[in-house]
Symmetry: D3
Subunit: 268 residues, 6 copies
């Protein structure tokens, strides 16, 4: 655990065994994101993904007002990618912008690819990049005061760091997705709950108590299946579990059940 | 705007700036569809798609009783494709029927492919082809008196102009989709709302006030993502937005925000 | 009908014309599944699929306590695949386990591939394999006392006979799917209804009264579309219906409607 | 046959029964293509596709020097899409260009989608658009004097009307494809033969003598399979042939064989 | 080895350790196939696939004249699927035919799915079903006198047991595939070699001497990759090999190399 | 250019303007690869990809004997991933191995993803990892003395860093691919040329003289199309080129042609 360096803009704690808590911390700016932050995010989650001390990750935001006001529009409009290479032709500028976007997307995707389940807790203003980020997490929770919006259309943009790609696969109501993405309107905790964007349970501690082989396999297989046919999902599951069941966890889970004790799983 | 010819079976108006309103008008027959109507539908939506005067489209039905009673069964059974080429062998008949179906599907698909968002407002009887058509739209609204049904099974058919393909990707409750498609039973506004087939908000005017680059990009990216993996969705988004962000809309959106005035976007 | 042999662990009846009822019957063990049962399941559904006497299938469980307690863990841990070939190296063991899993999956998939619609009725304990099985059915119904759980994580495993692959495509709330699969917690009838895992209507008799061409086509086209793009779904529908509409069912459905009599469809 | 109107830039003849011959005819400009030509191409092939008098199509170019010098660069640089909307921002210009490209692509795709097999015969200069077009045909033949090139890179462009998408699926040598597309170098008949871009046989008359059900089914199934998995290819073939074998052609083919006479198939 | 029953129409021998040889034996009819033969084929290959005594399979045909004359046309036209259910409507007949075709396809696919590499040796007449079958094998060899043809078009049919789906993925010359499939013309050993349909080496014994883990993994990964993207291929390879490298074969292969002795691998 | 640090195991030069030359340099060990080398490879290609001074990359190996003898088997068997975590259960070991493989694959994939075309020149022994690496390059060249082999099967493994996934998409002869991958046999320059694994032309300088927009777009569109349907390939091309044609390169290419001078393109 000592191996985590101190990260600017992020607080990092282990509130319970096997549970890591990342708190986005730029509260003075309503946790608006600037470029160095998503590079740091990638570093953190790449490390968490392979850290055997971690079995569940909580992601939240510091301050009372906001999980995040999204991208720091001031920084983006003064130093962002669209302010650079202004003398290049539109095709070359597009290449520079695309490289930048793909790298940005790739940083957020590390949250989705993190082998450990990630629970995000949102409060207050949670717009723009906040929705992109939430869509990469496994389980989404929010407080009563949350105000969500896919705000990009209101600054003349389509959301491009994952919301338009991931949100329709999270929430089964495609008309609702189109409506909130096209109108950029706010919606609250109750509506988010009804459509299935957020859930009720805080499960980090519970997940950390389970077999890490079982939990991580379940995350991976659900993520794989989302993007593949039933046929492919079953085939991948077959090869995956042919080795996962050779873990000691099955025996430990069963034995501890019979012996009515808390199971103790090897690290992973 | 003068360029729209008068269309048989369709009323065409511009109730507000940038908002086109198409009203299916064969009210004497409960807006049942005959073959010339879907050819006209294609023409209208191909034109709307590229018309810079249009930023949102409303689609509704004339008369009090029905948005549509579906395909005009009388016409179909006396002059439809199944009444032709009766002397040909089943394989050749199948070729003729398939060509006809693919063309029919292709006409409805122009609604989905229309670059501008399409809001459908349904009332009264809305069955068969009505569901196919609604499934091509971006946002679905209905009145309290609506009576929906995927009625095809009751005339010995599987729905073939898009309902079975699109409805499961709109509504997240796959068991419900199977139930209503297999039983052909009616369902009302409340049930449609609960499963997410229809929404609450009439957004045409609102969408027409937003950046057309942002709105049209958002529609395109959501439609693309529906049929592709996360990986592909992000890659397509990257190249799409690398040029979309070079629009003047971003600056106009931000400036108008600071200046507390209504933004004015270039046409598209 | 005489052609069905008596099956161990399954009761087989025809409660109404064209409706077959399969009852899993190992009530003394809470209908826990052992290996011979899923081989028998495959045999039964392969036969039902092509039996012209069958137009709808009901699947339920005997006894008061449970639809099923899932895989018989005692049998699995004493005679199951993980108890065999213990001297082989992990790669060879994985091959044997994979063959076994793929065969197991393939047996359950026959329920999904059955050409006739399958309605499952669940009660009491319905966990593990029960969810895998329900996910293969077309329509899911439950009693008030049902207790569902995707229980595999609690025995140190990821669910591998289809739940992780199929459940996210049935229920539109992906966060909920992740939560119940990762936590292995119980959920009841009301929650299952809200997320769309189960529905309300017992439709077997109704489906059996409809055109078998229409019903079976609808099932096939919905299953195909789930795993394919809109483009491919429409193309497949085109070729499928080019011959399905040449059935006598369309005429019979229409004529019986006009004549206000119950339609009588040829067998299929 | 009388129904074909006279087309500007195209000669249209029926050299033999059931064989249509389209000759691109702008020989004074080395058959360079201007925009009206590809719109006409679409019209011609849409009509050929459903014309029962046609069972095979030959496509060639008039004049001695060239099958085609590709896009008419002079016209493109003075009136083409890149000369329009110069005052719009790069994002809006991209929208106009994209619409134009997709329509251009879609015109050429009608050759690929033509239900009848298309044999292209190329001679002399055959560059740029000539390769795009050839890649849409089923069978490619050339004279000894042919000079091929994927020339687009030399005018600062990537080929965008299909070559980059289709050529790698026609020719199994992916390194060769990359080399000729990246270098824009010329290659002749022998090299084209070696890599499989062109073949030896002039088969139009032969194909026109075969069962149209068999020939058209074979084209469709090969095209479908190119873009799909083995699994999907077999499934589609199953439904396709379940009706195709109900044609009278099988009996006629067999009987004529036994009776040693030329088979006579119903039109399609 | 004693466990193989005697199969009608097939000779079964073990010419060398770990090498099974299946000889199609209906030489009096030029090895033309009748329905019971493909059911037997499936049984044989399902058993070979999991038989640890088998590491490579040779498939050839008895008699001097032909590997196979294809489907037994006489049997097909007097007792085949198209002769049944003649009173049913075309839609129902299509269902019966489709079931039959899918089962036929599925029997041949067992050759492709056989975990052990299959080498087919063809001689004399090898048409129709012979090409379907060869396309399921891993390595294709032929004698000088072979006469190949995709003959189906000449009996008024499109090939439907796999040729149209698999051949284009075996041979990189797509134009050639279209030509031979559309014309039904014969081609010999030399042409087959040039386009890559057949190879030169008889490798059964060699393959049987290699690590079965390595050989079977290589077959599986190549087959998987054929139908998937690079991204998916690499992901599947990653999970596959994460367990395959835990076999004892790596050590045995290396040690035997150092000790200059023939490696001896555990069975699989 | 000064910005490239000195890399251990790699020589880095700019033999001509816009052409970078990477030489693998561990000649004393026949350029066998150890783990730090592929991490360095990734760093180099990530940098080349975005370096505006680079328009083409040459990759070759130092020393006379070998482009590469593949993975350094001695290092792998003493310090490699399979030597670690020996006390963990097979499932956990599989996780560690899989992470390692995916990272290894990902390093090589940077060569494929490099925006600039990569030409590989191979000589002498080129086996195992050499084939994986060559399969990531755009153009493959070899000397007469080259000895290729997909050697992995002979050390009891399936090739897992890309050969099995990429080679079948490079070479159209799938039977040949299976043969060389299953037998691990050597093949030389002539055979490699015949099947299309290598080509003849050294094109680096030529490519460096072309429009970088055109060249890089062509590489990207060919790579995208390889893994997608025709439909998707065309759609992606449409959006890609809608901005690429807004480059100044088209005008410069045309003008320089008219003025008979060497074009001078802006950097990219």
């Amino acid at each position: 655990m000592a191996s985590y360096t101190k990260f600017e803009y992020f607080n990092f704690t282990f509130p319970r065994p096997f549970v890591a808590h990342i708190e986005v911390n730029r509260a003075s700016k309503m946790n608006a994101w600037i470029e160095p932050m998503w590079h740091t995010l990638k570093k953190i989650f790449d490390q968490l993904s392979e850290d055997p001390q971690v079995r569940a990750v909580i992601l939240s935001g510091a301050g009372e007002k906001a999980f995040t006001a999204g991208l720091d529009v001031h920084e983006a409009s003064t130093q962002g990618i669209t302010t650079r290479n202004l003398k290049s032709d539109p095709a070359r500028r597009a290449v520079y912008i695309r490289r930048h976007l793909l790298e940005f997307q790739s940083c957020l995707t590390t949250v989705e690819k993190c082998e450990k389940p990630v629970i995000i807790i949102m409060h207050g203003i949670t717009i723009g990049l906040g929705i992109d980020l939430a869509s990469c997490c496994d389980i989404r929770i929010c407080t009563e005061d949350v105000m969500f919006a896919v705000k990009e259309v209101d600054i003349g943009l389509a959301a491009d760091v994952g919301t338009l790609t991931r949100l329709p696969k999270i929430v089964g109501n495609y008309g609702w997705v189109k409506e909130v993405c096209l109108t950029a309107r706010y919606f609250g905790a109750q509506e988010a709950m009804q459509v299935g964007f957020v859930g009720r349970l805080k499960v980090a501690e519970l997940l950390a108590s389970k077999s890490p082989v079982a939990v991580q396999s379940t995350k991976e297989l659900l993520n794989f299946s989302r993007d593949h046919t039933i046929e492919d999902g079953l085939r991948y599951t077959g090869i995956w579990n042919s080795v996962a069941v050779q873990a000691t966890d099955v025996q430990e889970a069963m034995l501890s059940g019979l012996q009515k004790r808390i199971p103790k799983f090897e690290k992973l």
